[in-house]
């Protein structure tokens, strides 16, 4: 127990503020999330055909540096509990149906964020993984998309900015 506690104290708090979104701004956004939604923002992540690279970076959002949960945004297990779907692609034919079901199960109003060059169908990688016999290509070819976060894979920082942008009222 003692080495464990020692480790915790030695590590301290490593969470960083998001550059371009200063700490005060994050606070404000957090406040806004609470006013708009009346609670924390909940995300259901769906891998509809990615190479898992995008998922590695989405995982990183919960590491202590980015600490997404600490900012009032958390990942949930069921689409029925979600405000936002965070979808990676390219959407495979074998996942097309499951993705549509998830979309229908998510209560309105809902936000859909497409992640990665594959999910957004953009750039060189998006073109390499375009529609073919086994895939539908970009997420927007299967369900309506509100915000796109390109990158291969997008870094945690870019992901965070994209998610915050999606919930900022325009």
């Amino acid at each position: 127990m003692i080495p464990l506690l020692r480790r915790i104290f030695k590590t301290g708090i490593v969470t960083e503020s998001v550059p371009e979104i200063p700490a005060a701004e994050t606070q404000r956004l957090h406040g806004e999330i609470l006013t708009i939604l009346g609670r924390a923002l909940t995300i259901r992540q769906v891998d509809a055909g990615s190479c898992n690279g995008c998922e590695l970076e989405i995982h990183a959002l919960n590491n202590p540096y980015y600490n997404l949960e600490g900012r009032g945004i958390k990942f949930v297990a069921s689409p029925r509990h979600a405000d936002m779907l965070l979808v990676t692609g390219p959407v495979t034919k074998n996942m097309e149906n499951a993705l549509k079901i998830v979309y229908d199960c998510t209560p309105d109003p809902k936000l859909v964020v497409a992640v990665g060059d594959c999910g957004c169908g953009c750039g060189e990688v998006g073109a390499l993984f375009g529609p073919n016999y086994a895939t539908c290509g970009a997420v927007e070819n299967v369900i309506p998309v509100d915000v796109r976060i390109p990158g291969c894979p997008p870094t945690p920082l870019v992901l965070m900015q994209g998610i915050l942008q999606a919930i900022t009222p325009r």
């Binding site: 891998d47 898992n52 590491n63 034919k93 996942m95 149906n97 499951a98 390499l128 086994a134």
Partner: protein
């Protein structure tokens, strides 16, 4: 050269890659006889795929890669253009089951095995259309008509099924798990995969080798370096090119950094799955530091597209190497500290020990590879010297120490990961100090009709890429092979008789790739 007095004559593949031999079986009998001999000599089935050779050779071809202590044998069997059928290897190597079914789904090469269910085709394309046939064309417009799957039913009093997936409860790739349970106890797990099938092999056909490299690096994001290297090695063998010693060493730097990153992430997640959030936080913090240095050193957190045919695209300056050494020293201390905490935590050890066991005999039967095989006591690592086996450069000169653990449970897979982190940290320091001078990229000229097989020991296990060029120097056929093909069936065995709540932990201890095997 012949192996074990079998009549098939093999020729060695030239180049500096892993030891590979090429050979041909005259007929199905010949192939079966060779497979039995490999099995008797404790060999493994490393990969199996098919190709359409009607334009070049008038028929189809079955490709099998077997692994013996000495290295890998790529054995080809020509099949007729009409009703191509191959002998069933799944009776000798159970790992052949899914590969044969995938080969049928993609090419209509039949097998005479008992399991005739489709594997990759879930109804996204018609049953009488085969994507890898040259005359198939591309049809992005098929109606998607999902089919049912014939799961094996488990009967008996109190037995019932729990279906899970394709979408799972966490941030994880899709796949379906069908548990048959009595109370909490798992009687049987059956997997249905293929949800990540993106037609990668179809995309690779007729592309140039540089575009191919981009695709290969995106088959499994967590193993991008292993894939890129295996592919580069295959292209180099096919084209008679040799990368410089510096390029090979830089590739190994990336491969070991990839290994450490994945083990760090999984060790954290394993702590978390046993309700030890401290472990997740600490290891995720370390992993983030590690990835940030990747970005500083190579310009990408996962080093995608940094290993290219002919060499590497990024060089490291002496200051960069010095930073890397410094980080390795720091990590060796931090990870030891965390290991002591894991080892002494009664709650964690209670969950890890005797959970999800695979023994050595089963590992042999399933042609298991990589970290999961080493956790059953097998010394099976393409980077390590064995009797009759010399690892390819730069590993031959580095003297990689084998890591094994005989217990075969989650605890063993945790221990192997810890030990492999320490060994990789040692290797990274040694490589930084002994980095040879020289160029980092050699030019590659595609050789029409050239064929090559690349094998790399990735963090999960053996990653293979077999490829052939066509008459105009484009890629005719590329088959990338993930170790998960062999490891998924092992997971089905590992959970038997454990309880359902232990499944996430056991699953994580393997952390297999869906995308890599679904292609």
């Amino acid at each position: 050269m012949r192996f074990h007095a079998e009549p098939i004559e093999f020729t060695p593949q030239p180049g500096v890659g892993a030891p590979v031999w090429h050979g041909r079986a005259v007929d199905g009998e010949d192939l079966l006889r060779y497979a039995i001999s490999v099995h008797r000599h404790q060999g493994r089935l490393s990969a199996l795929w098919g190709s359409d050779e009607r334009e070049r050779a008038g028929g189809f071809r079955l490709h099998c890669v077997f692994a013996l202590t000495e290295g890998w044998q790529w054995l080809r069997l020509d099949l007729p253009a009409e009703n191509p059928t191959c002998p069933d290897l799944s009776g000798i190597f159970p790992a052949a089951n899914r590969m044969q079914r995938a080969t049928f789904d993609l090419l209509d090469i039949r097998h005479d095995g008992p399991d005739q269910r489709p594997w990759l085709r879930h109804g996204g394309w018609p049953a009488d259309w085969f994507p890898l046939r040259h005359d198939a064309g591309d049809h992005a417009d098929f109606t998607n008509a999902p089919t049912d799957y014939d799961f094996v039913k488990v009967g008996g009093e109190g037995a019932h099924e729990i279906p899970v997936g394709p979408i799972h409860a966490g941030i994880i790739e899709p796949g379906h798990f069908r548990f048959s349970v009595v109370g909490e106890r798992v009687l049987r797990l059956e997997q249905r995969l293929g949800y990540q099938h993106k037609g990668v092999e179809h995309r690779l056909a007729s592309t140039d080798f540089l575009t191919g490299a981009k695709l290969i690096g995106r088959i499994s994001g967590d193993s991008t370096c292993a894939y890129a290297w295996a592919y580069a090695a295959a292209v180099e063998a096919a084209c008679g090119a040799t990368p410089s010693p510096r390029a090979l060493m830089l590739r190994a730097v990336m491969l070991e950094r990839e290994r450490v990153a994945n083990h760090l992430g999984d060790l954290g997640a394993l702590g978390n799955d046993a309700a030890f959030a401290f472990g997740l936080t600490q290891f995720m913090r370390l992993k983030e530091d590690w990835l940030r240095l990747n970005a500083d050193l190579f310009g990408h957190r996962f080093m995608m597209d940094r290993i290219v045919p002919g060499g590497v695209s990024h060089d490291l300056a002496p200051e960069a190497l010095a930073r890397m050494v410094e980080q390795c020293e720091l990590f060796a201390r931090e990870v030891s500290e965390l290991r002591a905490i894991y080892d002494n935590h009664a709650g964690l050890q209670d969950r890890f020990l005797t959970t999800g066991i695979i023994n050595t005999d089963l590992a042999h039967e399933l042609s298991l590879t990589g970290m999961a095989a080493r956790a059953t006591g097998m010394i099976l690592d393409g980077r390590v010297y064995r009797q009759d086996y010399t690892p390819p450069p730069p590993y031959a000169a580095l003297g990689v120490r084998p890591v094994t653990d005989e217990r075969g449970d989650v605890a063993a897979r945790v221990a192997v990961r810890f030990d492999e982190i320490f060994e990789s940290l040692r290797l990274l320091r040694a490589m930084a100090v002994g980095m040879p001078a020289g160029e980092i990229l050699t030019t590659i000229t595609p050789v029409a009709g050239g064929a090559g097989l690349g094998v790399i020991e990735g963090w999960r296990g053996e990653v293979l890429v077999g490829l052939e060029f066509d008459a105009v120097g484009k890629l005719a056929r590329v088959h990338p092979h993930d170790p998960s093909w062999q490891c998924w069936p092992a997971l089905e065995h590992a959970v038997m008789n454990d309880i359902v709540p232990d499944f996430p932990l056991i699953n994580k201890s393997f952390n297999l790739s869906y995308s890599g095997a679904d292609l």
